[in-house]
Symmetry: C2
Subunit: 197 residues, 2 copies
Amino acid sequence: MESTHARILSYVARYIDLTSEEEQYFISLLRYRRFLKRQFVVQAGDVCRYENYVINGCLRAYFVEPGGAFHIVQFAVEDWWIADLASLLSGEPATLNVDALEDTEVFQIERSALDELYSRIPKFERMFRIMLAGAFVAHQNRIIDNLCKPAAERYLAFVERYRNIEQRVPQTQIASYLGMTPEFLSQIRSNLKKKRR
Amino acid sequence: MESTHARILSYVARYIDLTSEEEQYFISLLRYRRFLKRQFVVQAGDVCRYENYVINGCLRAYFVEPGGAFHIVQFAVEDWWIADLASLLSGEPATLNVDALEDTEVFQIERSALDELYSRIPKFERMFRIMLAGAFVAHQNRIIDNLCKPAAERYLAFVERYRNIEQRVPQTQIASYLGMTPEFLSQIRSNLKKKRR
DNA sequence: CGCGACGTTGATTTGCCTCAACGATTGTGG
DNA sequence: CCACAATCGTTGAGGCAAATCAACGTCGCG
């Protein structure tokens, strides 16, 4: 546990400097949890009560259409945060599901603990502001890519950018994230192979 | 000018409470500017130095592909903020253009002034954190819609959500925002009209 | 007036989806 | 430890939504 704390603290240190007291206080708000593969972290319909930091393993957030089709919105591996942010902030029921693609260890921070953290140590407000700005820009770029790149290029961009994820999760999942069918992704890959030779 | 300050102050008041001293300080950081229709607010390649609050009028942020195709990423009307956030934060050259679809009045806050504002009045860090969270969620929903809704539904959702924008900007622009060709949007609209009768 | 932006309509093409069938691999209960 | 199911990736035929290309009418503007 010592070492896992070290990890999240060094993550925080990328954004802000903490005194060791502040570190202790921050750590006291963390709740350690393990999720088994396929286990839910957040279920659509329930209120999302935690922000989740991934220590190791892999989570995914996805949206299920009334028809039954589902679409992956986000993956989260080591050092990433994941939640249904809309639900966490508003207290409304979540529209996203979050579950584990591998056995996964996380630190959770409860909504109320976050609020207290912001008040006690405003630096954390800065950290989350900067994190959110980065996430916002990433989403914006994803929208642009979806608008103007054909499926094959989007796949290549994904592999380029998230090699660590591409290795670990099944193609079905990646296809869903990229907004195409698994069959079509398979076709793309086989075309790329041919071209490469 | 008095009245325009009142407007941005009531905008801020949605998020945080300020003393009148704090209000004065905040206002002192604002730089008033007018942009004529078609005038650039940010040009891709330049560094984006300001966060822009729209007093009235309408701005658009768009991305130009090497091939020449362009895609609208965001509109901003009264009470909205717009910038190339990636550039503003990193100091790298902007990848987006921002220009005026109508004659537009804005308040600009310079990057360095923002930093000072955050330090002097951490409440503003909270305001921007909350704004960013909202924008993040909105982008996420847009990604989901692009993935699972057909073009006609996306158009209807846009009209529903942004009636004030839909009335004011040409269809070409809306088609670009929605990720479809103007011709196809025209077809969709004519089909909807037929159905409505 | 004439030019350029805008919207419309139609013919053709294409990127991607749907559906279906088939091995290969994983994993799970008997 | 085997047998059977479930998950995963692949391939192919056919279909549809949306893009492309082209032509034309309208309007606002210099």
